[in-house]
């Protein structure tokens, strides 16, 4: 099963709607609340990054028998220094974004924390794809 969501550039009002839709879908599938919460938080962090830094993009959620994979892809500027981006508190977000409650530099580290596996594929000037894998129990 696969779900695709579009992240519209600069649409702060709708930002996060993809993650909450995915959460509603996962609830219907009867997954544990703890797992749903981790997936929803990871996806939402990715969705906000995609909107804030990536200029919008696409979220793909693949629900398989053994795991759930969420990939968040944009065609934005890419991440020049992934190691720095993974440091808690390091952020390039603007004052405007911070005033909206985001850009604390917690996004990528938190995505790593809530997921079982995380992969970042990024190229400066081309874009970024972050893939989160969540293992299903059993």
């Amino acid at each position: 099963m696969e779900e695709i969501y579009t992240v519209i550039p600069d649409d702060f009002e709708r930002a996060g709607a993809a993650s909450t839709s995915l959460k509603d879908l996962l609830k219907k599938l009867g997954l544990s609340p703890e797992l749903i919460r981790r997936i929803a938080i990871g996806t939402y962090e990715g969705e906000m990054n995609c909107l804030i830094h990536g200029g919008g993009g696409r979220i793909r959620a693949e629900i398989g028998p053994q795991d759930i994979r969420v990939s968040i892809e944009d065609h934005g500027p890419g991440i020049p220094d992934v190691q720095k981006a993974m440091q808690e508190g390091w952020s390039t977000a603007s004052a405007k974004i911070r005033a909206m409650g985001f850009g604390a530099g917690m996004g990528l580290p938190n995505m790593k924390k809530v997921s079982d596996e995380m992969q970042i594929d990024t190229q400066v000037g081309k874009g970024t794809r972050v893939t989160l894998v969540f293992h299903l129990p059993g």
Partner: protein, 120 residues
């Protein structure tokens, strides 16, 4: 464990929506205008206190499973934000207390913070 009803009483709060959910119990509270921090620190069974009024407050509360959304210092969000919270079944409370006072009252009531030292 403290019921949301008790939380509302201590904060002398107006329950804007979700009255029926006030029997739910909580253990922790997270007070912040920075949703990034809420997402990183908050645990389940917590209430979110904030002075931020945008729609992302509801989205953050939803994905992190907040038991209730409490707007401090008598700030009121737009109708659209309230409707989104209602749609997600998240009780909304207004309190006249400032963030500091509201958090202090809840701490006195027995709620604890989402401490960084407890993070995975």
């Amino acid at each position: 464990m403290v019921t949301l009803k008790k939380v509302a009483e201590v904060l002398e709060a107006q329950v804007v929506s979700g009255q029926e959910g006030l029997g739910r119990t909580v253990k922790q509270a997270c007070g912040s205008d920075m949703m990034s921090d809420v997402l990183a620190y908050a645990k389940e069974d917590f209430v979110l206190l904030t002075g931020l009024l945008n729609i992302q407050v509801v989205r953050t509360a939803d994905v992190s499973d907040a038991a209730a959304l409490i707007f401090v210092r008598d700030k009121h969000p737009e109708q659209e934000v309230l409707l989104a919270a209602k749609d997600k079944g998240i009780p909304v409370l207004y309190t006249r207390y400032t963030m500091f006072e509201a958090c202090g009252r809840l701490y006195e009531l027995g709620l604890r913070g989402c401490s960084a030292k407890d993070r995975k």
